[in-house]
Every structure is written in structure tokens, then in C-alpha cells.
Amino acid sequence: MLKEYVYVLILFVLAAGLTFTLLGLTFILGPRRPTAQKLAPYESGMRDIEPPSRRFPIKFYVVAMLFLLFDIEAISFFPWAVVLRRLHFFGFMEIFVFVMVLLVGYVYAWQKGALDWH
């Protein structure tokens, strides 16, 4: 029973280790030349004199919506992953078709320029 959780523990250790290693490496190896501007709350752009009243560009919404759509599709992979071994080739083909349909949507969004920022 408890033995099964050892793998989870290993995963935790690996994840934490990787994070600290990467952060530590940048901390040690990265050059640091602080200036007043860099230490300001917003590093670049205009000074923060007043709260922004400007609306977000529509682009933000488009990207957010696309993210939401493709993100939630991941939910469909979970039940599939659970029974993957028992479904054999049939399950593989099903998910293949599913991914292909998603891919058509992706290609469409790409071609329509929904992914270009400018």
C-alpha cells in the first residue's frame, strides 16, 4: 500500500530537485548589474504614475480563448490514459482521430493569424 506512494515521493524529489538546480544555477552563473530602473516594480516601459485605464488589446482575449479550448481538451486524455492498455490499437486510433481533429483547429487558428502577436 505505502509502497505505491514511494513513486509519488520520488516524483516530488525529482521535481523539487530540478527546480532548485535550475534556479540555483541562474543565481550563481547569471551576471547581476542592478540599476535603479531594473529594481523598479515594472522593469521596462513607462513609469507607473497612474493605474492603467487602457483596455487590453483584443489579442489577449483571442489567445486566452485559444488557450482555454486547447487546455480543456486535455481533460479527454485522462479517461483514455486510464484504460489505454486495455484498449490496445483501437484506443490508439481513437485518440489519433481526436488529435487530428484538434490539429485541424490548430492549423486553422494558425493560418488565420490568431497566434501572431502583431
Binding site: H88, V107, Y108
Partner: protein, 500 residues
């Protein structure tokens, strides 16, 4: 656990898969093709519909009996009942696409996007007509609704279109919530979302989940029925859940209105029938009262409110509400004749209603206020073909013999009489007489009023001409040739076979 799917299983979903595949192709067309986009996209979508029609006809030929390829656990059926509605749906989709190209050009729509959404909606509708599981009904109703929200609001430059899309979206998703809450309660009461299992449980067969658990029982079933009725009634624009209909019909691009006014109902009614007459057939004493009241209110309110409309699209919206009431009469009869009448109604309704909207479109595309009923004044002098066609559609919608509209209504009311509910038939006939008030007003305006000075001739495009002539011919042929009615009878045999 291995899943064995036979060729018959794939066959049952083939028409739907074809339409979905066509829709995806159109998306790619829209992304990559830059020249003659409208022509190419229209061609692809019509070819797709034709192919799906062939697949559907093949299924019809193969599945003479009740067809539940995967046995009692089936999600989808390829039975003749579903195929019959597929024919009606493919027909209305094709008619709507035939009238769309001029509108697409003048409004600068993305043809691929627009037509692929229509195909997605069609696929959802076909799935709905074929569904045997509450889950599939929910998924398909959402597939068709999501596509229709976008289509209603497709004209981004017209505030009315945006408003229509947004209103439809808010109210429809509100109704969806009711629908699935009802489904959840039915699931709780019966232990399954599968319609066939629900029949077995409510039919009182031993050894089912129902007999081993006690949570279920009556309140859940009753509330579930009421909530699902609300959800379905909304999608069918049945009074008192019809408020969105006139606004959405008026605001949406006209080809979309033509399509959704027929196809949504032709998709939701078979599912409604499957859920209420089939799965909940044993509970008919509980739902009959609800449907009875809804049918009466719908017929009266739809017809009376239509009298005072000055916009043709709104008039047709209220007329559509009234027609939903007539179909509801046939459905609440809960017998074989009733189901046949529902099926037959939609073949007829596809021709007359899309035809009527095609006329609105032709007049609109001339830059006039084609939506106003006043524009029809003296139309006969300006375009005899259009005027005669409109006249036939109006007479058929009103239910004059020998047009098919008469026979459709006749069977609907006959079913109610056969079930012993003469009062429904009487109210139906009385409200039909009221409906003459607005249908004939249009006819009188066209034929008996002088044309205004300076009005020019009206000419539709070749595609629209073809579509109008075909619809007019269809209305007489479907009414007078018994073959079509026999088709509906055969379709319903596969459906009712299974309850006994």
C-alpha cells in the same frame, strides 16, 4: 475489455462522420484557399451533403428492422427513424446553402468559416436525431447550439446580428442547464443514461438498478421530466419559452434564420420523441399534462402574436412557434400515427419555411427593407415567379389543400383524435383559421394591391430560382404522392417496433 466494432457500427455513424469531415475540410479551405473561395466552399459543402445523403439512404436500405448495432448499450442508432430525419436535415441544410452565396458575397463573410459552421450544426443535428443516450443528446444539442450562436452573431458589422447571437447564447445555455439537470435526475432515478435501459427500468423489469436501490422513485422522475421538458421546449421555441425566437430570427443573417428555423426543430423533435415517447413512455401519465398545456398555449400565442407583426422575419418566427405547437400536438398523442405525423411534418416544413425565407433573402439582397411586409405590395407585377412561389408557401403554411402543408397538419390533428384528445385537434383547427389572417394578408398584398410607382423588377439569382422552383414543386409532390408518407410510416415502424 476489448471493443469490437463491426462494419454496421461504423455504418451507423457514417453520415455524421461525412458531414463532420466536410466541415473540417471547409475550415482548411478557408485557411489556405484564397481565390474563388465562395464557389469552392459552396461546392464542397453541397458535395458533402450529397455524400451524406447517399450514406443515409444506404443505411435506410440496409436497416429494414430496428437497428441497434451495438445492442442495448448503444449510444447511437442507425435506424430508419433517424435516417428519415437525416433526410429532412440534409435537405434543409442544402436548401439554406443554395441561397447563401449571394448573401455571403454582399456581407463579406468568410465563406469557408460560415459554411463549415452550418455543416457542424448539421452534424450535431444528425447526431441528435440518431442518439440513444442522454449524454449524446446533450453533446449534440451543444454542438448544434454552439455553431448556431456563432452563426447568429456572424455579421459583426450589424449590431442586430451581434445582439441576436448574444441573446441566443445566454438564453440557450440557460436552458441547457435545465435540460442536463433534468437528465441528471432521470439518471439518478433509473441508474442509466441509456434510453433503452431507462425503458427497461421504468417499464418495471426485474433485476435492474431500480429494483435494488430506493433513492430513485417518483419525485426525481417527475422533476426530471419537467426540467427536460423546459430544456427541449426552449430549443423548440415553445411558449412560454419562445421569447428569444423573434429577436434571434430577425437579427441573424437570413440564410442562418432559414436554416435554424427548420433544422433545429427537425433535430430536437426526434430526440424529444425518443426521450419522452420511448424512454419515458411508461410515464406518459406524468408528462402528458405538461405537453398538452404547452401545445395549446403555443398554438394560441404563436398565431395571435403573428397577426400584429410588420416584419416578415418576425412573422415567420411566430408562425414557426405556432407550427411547433402543431407538431407538439402530434407528439403528445404518443401513438404511432403521432410519430409518423411528426416525421412527415418536417419534410414538408423544410420546403415551405426555407422557401419563405429564401424570398425574404431575395428581397433583402436588393437593398430594400425586404424584411418589411409592406415590400410585398404588388410583388406579382414586379416578379410573377417570386409572387407565385410566396403564395404557394403561404397557402401551405396556412394548411390549404392540395399543398403538403395541409396533409402535414391533417395527420398531426388526426393523431390527437386517434389518441382521444379531440380538444387538441379542435384548438389546432381554430388557431389555423386565425393564422389565415396573417398568411393571407401577405398574399393579398402581393396579388391584389397595385405596385408602387417606380418599383423595379425583382430578379433572384439562378441558384435561388432553382431552389424556389424545387421547393414549390416539392410542396405539391410531397403532399400528393403517397410515397413520402409511406416513407415516414416505415421510419416510425423501426422506432415503435422496439417499445413492444
Amino acid at each position: 475489455m476489448t471493443i469490437h466494432l463491426t462494419a454496421a457500427d461504423y455504418g451507423a455513424v457514417l453520415p455524421i462522420m461525412i458531414v463532420l469531415g466536410g466541415a473540417l475540410c471547409l475550415l482548411l479551405t478557408d485557411a489556405f484557399v484564397k481565390v474563388h473561395e465562395t464557389e469552392i466552399a459552396t461546392g464542397i459543402s453541397l458535395a458533402t451533403l450529397l455524400l451524406a445523403f447517399a450514406a443515409s439512404a444506404h443505411l435506410w436500405a440496409v436497416n429494414a428492422g430496428p437497428a441497434f448495432p451495438q445492442g442495448a448499450g448503444a449510444m447511437i442508432t442507425g435506424d430508419r427513424f433517424g435516417q428519415f430525419f437525416n433526410f429532412a436535415l440534409l435537405l434543409s441544410s442544402a436548401l439554406a446553402i443554395l441561397i447563401a452565396p449571394p448573401y455571403i458575397r454582399t456581407s463579406h463573410f468568410d465563406a469557408g468559416e460560415f459554411l463549415s459552421l452550418i455543416l457542424f450544426a448539421t452534424a450535431g443535428m444528425m447526431l441528435m436525431a440518431a442518439s440513444l443516450n442522454l449524454m449524446v443528446i446533450f453533446l449534440s444539442i451543444e454542438l448544434l447550439s454552439l455553431a448556431l450562436y456563432i452563426l447568429s452573431g456572424f455579421d459583426r458589422n450589424r449590431p442586430r446580428s451581434q445582439e441576436a447571437g448574444f441573446k441566443y447564447f445566454l438564453l440557450s445555455s440557460f436552458a441547457s442547464a435545465f435540460l442536463i439537470y433534468g437528465m441528471a435526475l432521470i439518471y439518478g432515478a433509473t441508474g442509466s443514461t441509456n434510453l433503452i435501459r431507462i425503458v427497461n427500468v421504468l417499464g418495471g423489469h426485474a433485476g435492474t438498478v431500480a429494483s435494488t436501490h430506493t433513492v430513485l422513485s417518483s419525485p426525481f422522475v417527475l422533476i426530471g421530466i419537467a426540467l427536460m421538458a423546459v430544456g427541449f421546449a426552449f430549443k423548440l421555441s415553445i411558449v412560454p419559452f419562445h421569447m428569444w425566437t423573434p429577436d434571434v430570427y430577425q437579427g441573424a443573417p437570413t440564410p442562418v434564420t432559414a436554416f435554424m428555423s427548420v433544422a433545429t426543430k427537425a433535430a430536437v423533435f426526434p430526440a424529444f420523441l425518443r426521450v419522452f415517447n420511448l424512454a419515458l413512455g411508461a410515464e406518459s401519465h406524468r408528462w402528458f399534462g405538461i405537453l398538452w398545456a404547452l401545445a395549446i398555449v403555443t398554438m394560441i400565442v404563436g398565431n395571435v402574436l403573428a397577426l400584429s407583426q410588420s416584419s416578415m422575419k418576425r412573422l415567420l418566427a411566430y408562425s414557426g412557434i405556432a407550427h411547433a405547437g402543431y407538431v407538439l400536438v402530434a407528439m403528445s398523442a404518443n401513438n404511432r400515427l403521432g410519430a409518423t405525423a411528426v416525421a412527415f411534418y418536417f419534410i414538408v416544413y423544410a420546403f415551405m419555411n426555407i422557401g419563405a425565407f429564401a424570398l425574404v433573402l431575395v428581397l433583402e439582397s436588393r437593398g430594400e427593407a425586404g424584411d418589411e411586409i409592406a415590400t410585398y405590395r404588388g410583388l406579382f407585377a414586379r416578379s410573377p415567379l417570386l409572387a407565385v412561389a410566396t403564395g404557394v408557401f403561404m397557402f401551405s403554411l396556412a394548411g390549404f389543400p392540395p399543398t403538403a402543408g395541409f396533409f402535414a397538419k391533417y395527420y398531426a390533428f388526426a393523431a390527437a383524435v386517434q389518441a382521444g384528445h379531440t380538444e387538441l385537434a379542435i384548438i389546432g383547427v381554430i388557431t389555423s383559421v386565425i393564422s389565415l389572417g396573417y398568411y393571407l394578408r401577405v398574399v393579398v398584398l402581393m396579388f391584389m394591391q397595385p405596385v408602387e410607382a417606380g418599383a423595379e423588377q425583382v430578379r433572384a439569382g439562378p441558384l435561388s430560382d432553382f431552389m424556389l422552383t424545387a421547393s414549390v414543386a416539392g410542396l405539391f409532390v410531397v403532399g400528393l404522392v403517397p410515397w413520402f408518407y409511406n416513407l415516414a410510416v416505415q421510419a416510425v415502424q423501426s422506432f415503435f417496433h422496439f417499445t413492444t
